[in-house]
Symmetry: C2
Subunit: 337 residues, 2 copies
DNA sequence: CTACGTTTTGCACACGATGCAAACACGAAG
DNA sequence: CTTCGTGTTTGCATCGTGTGCAAAACGTAG
């Protein structure tokens, strides 16, 4: 059996209350008493039972991070930063995956509850239907911070990205290079997810700004933002005539797949097809060619997310806050940088 | 305040105990009573308090996964599989990072304790000093499963990799291609970690088997198994004479950096330098050239690790079990495949 | 010696659920 | 009609900590 407060008190010949006072740093404790208790604590290797403490105080010191898949580089890089940022303010992080499954997403959102083993949830949603959030989302009992979208009109704590502008920057760069047949990879075939909708809007806006026609066959769906989907999408694009001379991919992973498809078709990046992605994952810095991308500053997103969530936990009734994380275009070899 | 068992009991006009029986699926409950209680549960949206349950039962339903860095693809791919495997047997996973810091590693190992918010720990150690483990490691109070090494003589539950053989397979492949100046990237400069020592042993053994001389300048250290370190190490190797015509990298990430360095030096992979890695991360399947590697079967490692840990949690006194995960060489473009 | 402020203690209770064993109901067997 | 047994329901204690309150013990200054 583990050592308890009571055991320590017995050994140090003091009351349980005093031991508790020492452990929790109560100020009116004489130095010699503190020393005596601390010695007993060391001798017995006492460690407070986190579960009992949680039951009493209502705080677990744990945050939940929910992402589609942890092995997608953008999410694993984000997770790294979240764990570090949380650690700095005394929280640990449990991670769950939705696996692109709407039911699972709903289920996890439902499980965001102070009765669980975490104090609040960082949620990177696929489906951002407001009804779902309104039903099961943030209440004082369910601290929740949303990541990555940009359409919640101040009702939820939220670290957003200006997806429209990010897409415009990326496509604007391709335009500036003189490319005229600029395709997009990453629209969603059936469901209407916010991120791809916004990036599509930015893409179309940038084309319009440049006075370029939009060829509908150049807007290519990709279900999972994976290398596989990027590869398959690019193959389809390369079969279309006229062939695109540039591609805006909605994620770096799509771009990695697209680049590979271009070379497998006997063409070159950037000479025949320029490629730009979004996320600035480490992989894109060492790939050949290295990847031009829109960098999203994952460390900042993570820090802000943790800040918003801990604030929400401590002040359940505070007004919702929305942070828009900055982004910037990083030009590398895949567009001739 | 949240709805408790007591509230439900009051509403359903039964004892707290009966509600508990219904919730936990006790069999001797009459259908009408069950219905009555379930109705109250639905009406009040009751959800069991996981923390209180844990205090009473001693089970949190949470596992800890400790890795150096979660954004290293091998670990994020492993984490994905661990989370899935754990989920299948009713566990969730919290993740912590040691960040290559020995003190942090020791601290986390110390924190592996049933008083914490998890039931056991999956630990992927850098330092595998037996003394450390013997002091703070696995006891019935501290369920622990080690990942990735192969030198614990049956004292700990352990999912191992045959690192020596894996290295021999990789280097043997380079030998079979006719390469004669085969370098290695990934030895450890100062500390004596088990994994690199074993891979170095396999490397040297393979050279000896082939009757090739080992040039000490061709054994190149890399502190962190990162793309950066792989790049830097390869640059150093390319300056040596005679220049190596093949490189065995102790991780795919090192290999990615090494490949890039070869091309930046105006040479080609595999023509001038063949490159083989270890891990079989997704990145290597789409890189140019795609990466020959030793695949480690992360799903199997994860499943076995979770199986061992849950077994240890349920049977604290069981004999330690060691599983050796299989590996196989996958030949791709970086060695001419 | 008294008065007052500081430490320390004891006690009861709360947090929410569950293990244990006793109590209860009810039909069947004697 | 009692007894037994099976099946159902309940009361109580407990898991380990934290907290509020009141009182006791202690030390110091007046």
């Amino acid at each position: 059996m583990a050592v308890t407060l009571r055991d320590v008190a017995e050994r140090a010949q003091v009351s349980v209350r005093t031991v508790s006072n020492v452990v929790s740093g109560y100020e009116h404790v004489s130095p010699q008493m503190r020393e005596r208790v601390n010695r007993a604590i060391r001798d017995m290797d006492y460690r407070p039972n986190q579960v009992a403490r949680t039951l009493r105080t209502g705080r677990t010191g744990m945050l939940a991070l929910v992402v589609p898949e942890i092995d997608v580089p953008y999410f694993s890089e984000l997770a790294r930063e979240v764990i570090e940022a949380a650690s700095e303010v005394g929280y640990r992080v449990m991670i769950d995956q939705t696996g692109h499954d709407h039911d699972r997403e709903r289920e996890l959102l439902l499980g965001n509850d102070r009765s669980m083993l975490f104090d609040g949830m960082l949620f990177s949603p696929l489906v951002t239907k407001s009804e779902l959030l309104d039903m099961h989302g943030a209440t004082p009992e369910r601290p929740l911070v949303l990541l990555g979208e940009h359409e919640f009109d101040g009702r939820y704590d939220h670290v957003a990205i200006d997806n429209v502008q990010a897409a415009r920057d990326a496509v604007g760069h391709l335009v500036a290079l003189g490319r005229t047949r600029i395709a997009a990879i990453g629209t969603q075939p059936l469901e209407e997810y916010a991120t791809p909708l916004q990036r599509t809007a930015g893409y179309e806006r940038a084309l319009a700004d440049a006075g370029l026609d939009r060829d509908p066959r150049h807007s290519t769906p990709a279900a999972h933002y994976s290398r596989e989907d990027g590869y398959a999408a690019m193959r389809r694009l390369l079969e279309s005539t006229p062939r695109p001379d540039a591609v805006f991919c909605y994620s770096d992973l799509l771009a990695v797949g697209a680049v590979r498809a271009v070379f497998d078709a006997g063409l070159r990046v950037p000479q025949d097809v320029a490629v730009v992605g979004v996320d600035d994952i480490a992989e894109g810095r060492y790939s050949r060619p290295s990847l031009t991308t829109v960098s999203l500053d994952a460390p900042l997103i993570a820090r802000e997310a943790v800040r918003l969530l801990t604030r929400r936990i401590e002040h359940p009734e505070a007004a919702a806050e929305e942070v828009v994380a900055p982004h910037r275009l990083i030009v590398r070899e895949s567009t001739g940088g």
